[in-house]
Subunit: 665 residues, 2 copies
């Protein structure tokens, strides 16, 4: 082992958090969020250290903030990211000779020792700092050194006791001796997204089923007409399944049968026909201009349109003709269709990412994204990203985010946990989760704790969906309307981002294709449906209320504050979300049993919720508008699923005024 | 982000364990120990993967072993290190196209699908493998491909059901298609030590107190005469405090007083006088040849001599004259002595590791080590390593171990946990611990679990000391002889390496310098003591018995198997150690209360200890030689500290022979 270049760097910086796989992956934040950084920083011996957290925007200059020591050689610093795009942070630490000198001096003076020599040592340290300081401060330091020297052999305890030493050390801290400082050897990345990456309310809808008249193929114009309805429920992202031309070869019929009639529209995920591929819109929906008109009209109502990015082709896709080398060929010359043996998906040709022409393929797919970005789309829901290589996603997500940092990608990977996490680490802004299949209190608590209280939260932003066109869970199939209300409240309050697939959801559509299946009967994936949205018995108003509560309560707009609380009845789940300053405190109580009334005692920490122990407080149920005066950490609830399966309480502290009069803050 | 060089590497390898700080630090093993490596290895989609663990000696060639998949995309492989020195390991994984083909084929055949095309695809894959295979195997593969092709359109289920496919896949596994395989991007180091780094029994003794005659300064010759005594107790490392000439300036008197008389010998840690420095021996102990004679005589008895490495100087050390630049100078021209304000240690000059001449200083200190290695010393106990820079240790430990991989370093850092761990990571072979101050069951359980069941064990090898010349704990001060027995058994059975400072320990010396102090009264650090070692009332025989138990039971010779078990009395601690094959199972039960008899019910897992649920088994107390027939996981113990404060049970399964006759295995 050769000698190090500088053997006098005595400080080590290790175990930095957050840090994902040595900085290979970026942590995620949205604008105005904090990055709190901790690290083990220590040196040999007992010398005092100083350290700074340094951060910069990509291409910008470093800003330094002092780190504070915590117990056990742990240090902590923080900064706030104010712009979207890429940031970096790193650390620096050094032995603070002047601080050591001051600490030792004070101990010696306290013990009544003679310290004139120490004053000369201090003056030497200040002399050195004058060279690092500039102008006025340099001169000030020179004066301080002179003062210390002047006191020579005289007693100096007045200097130690007085304010002079404090003044000196304040100025000295600005000009530390960093000759032997240790620089952390990595610059750790932060991807900063716009707020919608953290807080978003999604509505998925099949455009072709949006017509107000039964039997007619819906169009982008019909979607426009549907916007007020979507807005009235409080959604801000309208996600459309693929809008491209649909293939005819091996087209699927109703309920995913192989025998399609010419009238069957086919699955929108069988992308491409002679009418075009991934950069085209299906003529039956309208023109590209119609689509752009829809984008504009949606934007006026505060709704963003998200597109589906499904990188696969129907046998009729132009790529098959123009780029046969992008598909895997079988010994008989045919192209390999998708399969999950023994199941065959002959209407889908997967792209062959092991093709020799992978570079062209990657660039083409990037071109698809850029095309839609040019049309004004800024949110993409990516279909089955786990069936395309990780390296491809790492590349394309970085490419796009570099030039378009406002683009948001939602990963639709329902697969093994490590694959889902890897995709999130590679750069997906949001991710689908296992939420749909987490129904018991234990399941929800364990899973959501993993997502919000472990390192996972640094890169995996959950987007919770109670249903999708592929997922009609048993809970929804058998729980009736209360089950839909319960799952809605859970999704909307556990997750700052959530979504529903409608109108099936608000219509409480709950029939499966066959017993044991999670597929919808008469699924919109294979046929056009008509939804009489003005029907009074849907969950429209309930959804609207829940989404208004989300908008009005910042505690529900991020996930890291989620904490679960005890309830003595397993069917009752209780959790809170709060803002950092505890100005907004939300406690959610849900009856997980859609069939029976359940009651029980809750138990939560008053302190964690900013409530005083000795005083009563108001629990205002924002769903029913009922107000309860509660006291102490134990309180009783009773929830009848036929009336309301959930409370969303906002807590208001009762404050005693000077006049001994209680009012609500 | 530029395109990767090869975009078709679809496998990722992450979260490798063990891996210390991205491979910056080596894990530690002793010869014949296993390295078990786990990693998350996964790819996109549902393709089957293969992966190998690769390892090599420093400078040698890679050996590959197949990794096995475990649940949740985790893989596991292992290898055994057979030589001391440096090893490296890394991983490689790839999509196993042939395995995918075989899996899908079997599913299709099971579903009754026509698979002739699949056979052609398989033949293509085999064709490719013939190019990678050699000689006979290449030819064999060619034949297999031919066979598959020949079956053409005929039904092939017999091939799938028969042994042919198994044969093919066995051979194909030897010639995988690794064109797009992923190599883990790090080679992770392993430092392999000789077995003594893991299992060692230390005895610390002041040579100057080793004379058989009261009042005479002990010598190396006296140490030689003491060897049979040390051997009789079963120790294999004899550790001597510094043996160098002792300074006279500011020499310390008895009980660390400033007023030393000319007769006071001074502290051996005040190293250096006109008689020499770190490469000299104190003439009052003998000559260098005497010392080498001691080494040789000790070796004959299976005892290694360990030296104390204290990198500090007395004011009389030759370095002070010859290398004044290695010390920090104060404004009045004097050299800075050691201090911990307001305390002053004027008999010690610390070396200034911030000197401009740090390179010379490092090389000189390396020279000190090489000098003693040349004399035959292979174990060093390093005094206060935490007061010298981490980078210095990283360098010197690596330098020495590169050329002398058999050298063992024990770190005497009693300081903050992260500093202790860092020193171990940098390369110390063994480390002192907080064991001396962990007395209650909760304290011992928590601490020893951290040391043996977390990542810490990969680099921190504990060496447990109930006492040292600096540490006479309150437990020993007030617990009398039972306290010494208790702490001995704990140290010797919790730790594969442990040590005592004797003869103070076996004499149950328990008077502190003053109340509240952990310093010994009349400490040997400052005066010569006389120990009548033949006195019959010492713990000599008890120690000998404990150490014999350690030698005879391999379970006690390593630490990773340590497990704590329940006892319904807090004063009773119960734990086990086992060999990997459960051939040797030790259960230790200790009464932590040195004053009162304690009893209670133990509860341990029969399965973990290799015991059958339905059968009785023998618990043989190796300390008292008593034998108990126990049954089931709950058993009663009673320990009277005045009789014996501990059991060290060896379990023997009772085996039923064909003749239905029980005997002890």
């Amino acid at each position: 082992m050769t000698l190090p270049e500088e053997g006098r760097r005595r400080v080590i910086i290790e175990n930095v958090q957050p840090e994902l796989d040595g900085g290979r992956f970026a942590i995620k934040r949205t604008v105005h969020e904090k990055v709190i950084v901790e690290a083990d920083i220590c040196g040999d011996g007992h010398d005092l250290l100083s350290s700074v957290l340094k951060y910069r925007r990509d291409g910008g200059d470093w800003t330094e903030v002092a780190m504070e020591p915590m117990p056990n050689d742990r240090w902590r610093g923080e900064f706030t990211v104010e712009n979207i795009g890429l940031y970096f942070y790193t650390l620096e630490g050094w032995v603070d000779r002047f601080a050591c000198w001051q600490r030792d001096l004070e101990k010696k003076v306290a013990a009544g020792q003679e310290v004139s020599l120490e004053f000369l040592i201090g003056a030497q340290l200040i002399d050195e700092a004058t060279k690092r300081a500039e102008g006025e401060n340099s001169e000030k330091l020179r004066q301080y050194a002179k003062t210390l020297r002047a006191r020579g052999r005289e007693p100096c305890s007045d200097i130690v006791a007085g304010s002079l030493l404090r003044e000196i050390s304040r100025l000295m801290a600005r000009y530390p001796d960093k000759r032997f400082s240790t620089h952390y050897d990595k610059e750790l990345p932060v991807v900063v997204d716009r707020e919608e990456a953290r807080f978003s309310t999604w509505y998925e809808m099949f455009p072709r089923s949006s017509s107000a008249e039964p039997g007619r193929h819906g169009t982008f114009k019909d979607c426009e007409a549907r916007l007020p309805y979507i807005q009235s429920m409080g959604f801000d992202v309208l996600y459309l399944p693929p809008i491209h031309p649909i293939g005819k070869t091996h087209k699927k019929g109703k309920n995913n049968t192989d025998a399609a009639t010419p009238e069957d529209p086919g699955s929108p995920w069988a992308i491409g026909s002679e009418e075009g591929g991934h950069k085209s819109v299906s003529p039956s929906l309208g023109t590209l201009d119609d689509f752009k008109e829809l984008l504009a009209k949606a934007r006026e109502r505060g709704i963003e349109v998200a597109l589906d990015l499904a990188f696969q082709c129907s046998p009729d896709h132009p790529y098959v003709r123009e780029h046969p080398e992008w598909f895997r060929r079988r010994p008989d010359g045919s192209i390999q269709y998708a399969e999950n043996p023994p199941k065959k998906y002959q209407d889908i040709y997967p792209l062959d990412f092991e093709t020799d022409a992978w570079r062209d393929l990657w660039q083409e797919l990037k071109g698809v994204l850029l095309f839609w970005i040019e049309q004004g789309v800024r949110i993409f829901r990516v279909d089955n990203p786990h069936t395309k290589p990780f390296r491809f996603w790492a590349w394309i997500l970085n490419e796009i985010k570099r030039d378009h940092p406002d683009v948001i990608f939602l990963s639709e990977a329902f697969t093994r946990p490590k694959v889902m996490y890897e995709l999130a680490r590679l750069g997906f802004s949001q991710s689908y989760t296992y939420f749909a299949w987490r129904n018991t209190r234990a399941e929800i608590t364990e899973y959501l704790t993993e997502l919000t209280q472990t390192e996972v939260r640094e890169y995996f932003r959950m987007n919770l969906w109670p249903n999708t066109p592929d997922i009609l869970t048993e809970y929804l199939q058998f729980g009736g309307r209360p089950a839909f209300m319960t799952r809605l409240v859970l999704a909307a309050t556990l997750g700052a981002s959530y979504g529903i697939y409608g109108p099936a959801f608000e219509f409480c559509e709950n029939l499966p294709r066959e017993p044991g299946s999670e597929e919808y009967l008469n699924s919109e994936k294979y046929e056009i449906r008509h939804w009489p949205i003005e029907r009074p018995d849907t969950l429209r108003d309930y959804i609207a209320r829940v989404n208004r509560i989300r908008r009005e309560n910042p505690a529900l707009q991020s996930d890291w504050s989620l904490r679960f609380h005890a309830a003595d009845n397993d069917q009752i789940i209780c959790y809170s979300k709060t803002t950092g300053d505890l100005a907004n405190v939300i406690l959610v109580v849900v009856n997980l049993d859609p069939h029976h009334k359940q009651s029980g005692w809750l138990h939560f920490s008053l302190e964690a919720l900013g409530l005083g122990a000795g005083r009563s407080y108001q629990a205002h149920d924002l769903l029913s508008d009922a107000r309860y005066i509660w006291q102490g950490p134990r309180n009783y609830v009773e929830l009848d699923p036929r009336v309301t399966p959930a409370h969303i309480f906002r807590f208001r502290r009762r404050v005693r005024t000077e006049k001994d009069f209680d009012y609500f803050m």
